[in-house]
């Protein structure tokens, strides 16, 4: 079997793994997105205790290895969870660990974007009678989320690639599928090259989609280099 015949023969299995990788990424990035926004808002607008908690969370998840966090949640937590009758699948554990970690990084991107919005926007919103929550929801976040897209794209790309760490939980995502194929066929180099090319294809497609999104929601004068009036 030459390279192409081999690639063709293993592709169906790898695509099954790819689906798991995509699901893993989608769920964990979404978890990180929601939690990240609250952490960022907590850091910027929260009262001191909220700020300290948000800050501590971000420091912990950015300051410790993702793999350790993954192992902690999959192997470390279950005995305690079992006491309250909860069992956790490798997939859930991976989503939670990757999502909690991603939240810390996403929060920092959101915080930067929120803080780049001029104070006057909040004041104008409050002066027309919006509550702080309304001002954040209708004025601050719509601007911050547009501004954040280019840097947030990085986090999504990391998310896709770091999902391969779920390999350590024996989750049959793309990388672990490759490993299993190698165990049977012993064609290590070819298999990993194909696995790498699939990751590359996903990253390129996702980057392109995000660029399209960025253009679609673009507003003149927002997120571009500040123009002088």
């Amino acid at each position: 079997m030459n390279f192409f015949e081999f690639a063709w023969s293993i592709l169906p299995r790898l695509l099954d793994g790819t689906v798991v990788t995509l699901e893993l990424t989608a769920f964990s990035i979404s978890l990180g997105f929601g939690l990240g926004i609250f952490l960022a808002l907590g850091r910027v607008y929260g009262k001191p205790p909220v700020r300290i908690i948000s800050n501590g969370y971000i420091q912990f998840f950015r300051g410790t290895p993702l793999l350790v966090q993954l192992l902690l949640i999959y192997y470390g937590l279950p005995p305690y969870l079992a006491m309250i009758g909860i069992r956790i699948s490798p997939f859930s554990a991976a989503v939670i660990a990757l999502g909690l970690n991603s939240a810390a990084y996403q929060a920092e991107y959101f915080r930067g974007a929120i803080q780049s919005i001029r104070m006057g926007q909040m004041m104008a919103a409050r002066s027309m009678g919006m509550s702080k929550v309304q001002a954040i929801r209708y004025v601050i976040l719509p601007q911050a989320l547009r501004i954040v897209i280019p840097s947030w794209s990085n986090e999504l790309i990391y998310g896709i690639k770091y999902s391969s760490l779920a390999y350590f939980l024996s989750l049959t995502e793309l990388t672990f599928t490759g490993k299993k194929i190698i165990a049977k066929t012993a064609r290590t180099f070819e298999t990993y090259i194909i696995v790498a090319l699939i990751y590359l294809a996903i990253v390129l497609i996702v980057s392109q989609l995000l660029r399209m999104l960025e253009n679609r929601v673009r507003v003149p004068g927002l997120g571009e280099h500040a123009e002088h009036r």
Binding site: S127, M128, S131, Y138, R229
Partner: protein
Amino acid sequence: MVPPGDETSGNVVLRVENLHKRYGKEEVLRGISFELRRGETKVVIGPSGTGKSTLLRCINQLSMPDAGAVWLEDVEITNRKVDINAVRQSIGFVFQDFNLFSHLTALRNVSIGLTRVKKMKKEDALEKARSELARVGLADKADAYPAELSGGQQQRVSIARALAMDPKLILFDEPTSALDPELIGEVLSVMIELARSGMTMLVVSHEMGFARAVANEIIFMEGGIILEEGSPAQLFTHSKHERTKQFLHKITELYGESGDE
């Protein structure tokens, strides 16, 4: 909660009583009191750093006064039990640097307060927003984003945004100071129209042409107090304090009489 005063107090839209505010060691407002009747325009002048902007912000409580009271009609809005968000709906605020919402078109800038704060139906809000934009002469710019508008146009949109809420009064914080000289006139003529149509306005500005044209009274602030107040004619010809005379002379020289007709 009945405000002190005579029978005509029913016409008082805004009453400021002995307002104090300090930032750290600096006492910015040291007991400011005045009234604004329905349909009146008062212009606040004074050297920079004398608390004019702070006064406006203490009135709608973008910053909290340390002492004193603010009454809007017959409600003491400095009372902590008052829902300040509800109160602010009826106090328009026009900023020096416009502060239009950057992600919204001119039209949506004007309608957002109607839909999100006043919970008006979207079609009704857009219709009202269109008519307010027309009132400031910008019907054709409805779909432009702030960054696509000149400073003068942005300020007119922000006036339309304030008007859309049907405010009881509008506070103007140096509305023309950030504008290129050739753009000041278009904003002032909108404000003059507004004053003549009976809007109640408190305007921090050194545009004496505007003051002479429409102000019922000029308030001269210095060092956190009101040094003198009176009609423009009174202040220009018979000011009681030498300091007022000097200051009026200086700003008339500096700012000229733009907006005068």
